[in-house]
């Protein structure tokens, strides 16, 4: 019969329309911004810099090795290395970035900076409501805007952050043991850097 297929289709539409009042399955839309879906734990938007402790500059993990700057596919990271050094999480003297800018209008959220970073210093944020009316300045984040505490990192990526902390603690213990072993032999010579030399 001509029109049978159309009627069958309309029955489907009616089923879905009526179903949207009773079934969660059929009503999948959410009234954003009043209603929000939870952000997936693995979700990534733009990178940020992790710091330990309470002081953002003192605790910053980044040692300005510039690997992320070199590996970044769209080249949106700009780093200037410091002249002086400050102690890092194991107490070793390291450089730090006097300038660390990420142009998030260029960044494509690919996470390659996170993967190549040997110091667990740069991670992906999940904040996505970043609209601004300042096209240039508002989208160029400097190191202070990028710095977020380790607690914040734990709050957005709990599993990943715990793994990172465990890894860093292990390294710290190893470095301390090494320092203890090396101390009587050659107290003057600091141990060789763990990595990041290019």
């Amino acid at each position: 019969m001509l029109g049978e297929g159309i009627l069958k289709g309309l029955a489907q539409t009616a089923k879905n329309f009526a179903g949207s009042y009773v079934s969660e399955e059929r009503l999948t839309t959410v009234q954003y911004p009043e209603e929000r879906l939870p952000v997936a734990e693995a979700s990534r938007v733009f990178p940020f810099l992790v710091f330990d402790g309470s002081e953002w500059l003192g605790g910053m993990r980044c040692v300005a090795c510039q690997i992320c700057e070199k590996e970044c596919p769209p080249k949106c990271i700009y780093i200037e290395k410091s002249k002086d050094k400050k102690p890092d999480y194991v107490g070793k003297q390291q450089f730090y970035p006097v300038r660390f800018d990420i142009d998030i209008s260029v960044c494509m959220s690919c996470q390659i900076c996170v993967e190549v970073c040997p110091f667990e210093a740069i991670k992906m944020d999940t904040a996505f409501e970043l609209a601004t009316d300042d096209r240039f300045g508002g989208l160029l984040l400097d190191r202070q805007q990028l710095a977020k505490s380790n607690e914040y990192y734990h709050s957005i990526h709990p599993t990943e952050a715990s793994e990172v902390d465990a890894r860093l603690d292990e390294e710290k213990v190893k470095a301390e043991a090494k320092a203890k072993a090396a101390a009587p032999a050659a107290a003057a010579k600091p141990p060789a850097p763990a990595g990041g030399k290019d």
């Binding site: 489907q12 979700s43 590996e71 690919c110």
Partner: protein
């Protein structure tokens, strides 16, 4: 037809003659331009017509062209007598950028080729590099790749069919049903890779992060519910008389022309040619799964629609097997370094059956950290080359449907 209104009253010519003269001038100019640009096209034959022949530029901002794509269509009344696809509006210099950066840095750029199926793009590129450098992929990673590729195929075909119906005037409903299911798959992608569409997930020698058991359970639940969705989708569409009238016998493609033009994917299989790289090329671990290749008969729009629907069903079968058999183990080849990756000099061509057809990456290495030559074989661009042959003789409204059935993504066509 504002062209008629602009003709001054005082001219001795009739409006049709005036139009024909203008048209012949523009045809001559176009032919000259073709010759200058090195196009070797057959001469355009314009039949005499009392209505005159009208040249219409469909696009680049036409909503049915799925992006910035232009078709210069010559129409005689409603009938298409010549069609020239013009692309390049979304050219982003993908290949040259890739030749200037490290191998790894091209991976996120491949997401942006066919932005509907970033995971299959990742896989094709990873496959090419793995061939080039001779990297072995662990078993678990191969299974994850198959699972993600088939999920990508489902969401791409669902969306393609939805868009096809949208082009036909079924405004909204089928597309929204398709997107409702697609969204569930994209949620899975986000939970695993961190991003819904720009996944950047595969790495040379494996995958970036491991799948959890919770993720696999969720995927199993989704796959279990998928046949119900396809049944509902088919009840809505397959026997719909309007869809059948609009699709059957429209845009028929001959198998020999399809083969000669290098058409691949659902478009080729809709013509009845049994060619699927999953069966032909034995890449990955597809040999281990039982699945059938749906084939069409007439090569028209309806067959392409049917082949896509049936491919969703076959993808569900593959997923059921893969999700059941996935073994434990490592997901990355331990010998492959992330940074400082320098394959030995040589060349490789890695190709996979992407949802739109054969997606290939051709790489030449000179031993450096970036490829000497990097070339993409995009399925949707090569499938577009037969657009004129499919459209000739049909109505303008059918051009939109035929283009929708090719399933192009301009990010891949223009690169």
């Amino acid at each position: 037809m504002s062209t008629f209104e602009t003709i001054p009253e005082s001219t001795s010519q009739t409006s049709a003659e005036h139009l024909a003269e203008r048209l012949s001038k523009s045809i001559t100019a176009a032919a000259e331009a073709d010759r200058r640009e090195g196009w070797n096209r057959p001469p355009v034959f314009l039949p005499e017509s009392e209505n005159g022949v009208l040249e219409v530029a469909m696009g680049p901002h036409h909503p049915s062209t799925h992006g910035v794509f232009r078709m210069d269509v010559s129409v005689d009344g409603e009938r298409v007598i010549r069609l020239k696809p013009v692309f390049g509006y979304l050219h982003r210099n993908h290949e040259k950028i890739a030749e200037g950066t490290a191998y790894l840095a091209s991976m996120p750029y491949t997401d942006r080729l066919d932005y509907f199926c970033s995971l299959t793009n990742n896989w094709a590129y990873a496959l090419a590099v793995e061939k080039l450098a001779g990297i072995q992929v662990p078993e678990r990673a191969e299974y994850i790749r198959v699972i993600l590729a088939e999920l990508t195929r489902i969401q791409n075909h669902a969306a393609a069919v939805g868009f096809l119906l949208q082009d036909m005037g079924a405004s909204g409903t089928p597309l929204m049903y398709a997107f409702r299911e697609r969204e569930k798959i994209l949620d899975l992608f986000e939970q695993l890779t961190g991003s819904r569409m720009m996944c950047n997930y595969m790495r040379f020698g494996g995958c970036r992060v491991d799948v959890t058991d919770a993720w696999l359970d969720r995927a199993r639940r989704l796959v279990a519910g998928m046949p119900q969705f396809v049944d509902e989708f088919e009840a809505l569409l397959t026997t719909n008389e309007i869809l059948m009238v609009r699709c059957q016998g429209i845009g028929a493609l001959k198998p020999d022309l399809a083969v000669n033009a290098g058409v691949t994917g659902p478009m080729l299989r809709a013509t009845g040619v049994n060619y699927d790289l999953r069966k032909v090329d034995h890449y990955g671990i597809y040999d281990r799964f039982k699945f059938r290749i749906p084939l069409g008969d007439h090569g028209d729009v309806y067959d392409r629609y049917m082949v896509r629907i049936l491919e969703i069903r076959e993808a569900v079968h593959i997923l059921e097997q893969a999700l059941k058999e996935i073994p434990a183990g490592p997901i990355m080849d331990p010998k492959t370094k992330l940074r400082g990756f320098r394959p030995k000099p040589g060349e490789a061509y890695g190709r996979i059956e992407a949802p739109k057809g054969e997606l290939g990456f051709y790489l030449i290495s000179d031993g450096g950290s970036n490829p000497y030559r990097y070339r993409v074989r995009p399925p949707s661009m090569i499938n577009l080359t037969v657009l004129e042959d499919m459209c000739l003789g049909h109505n303008v409204a059918d051009v939109v449907v035929i283009l929708g059935s090719v399933d192009i993504v301009l990010g891949e066509v223009d690169r």
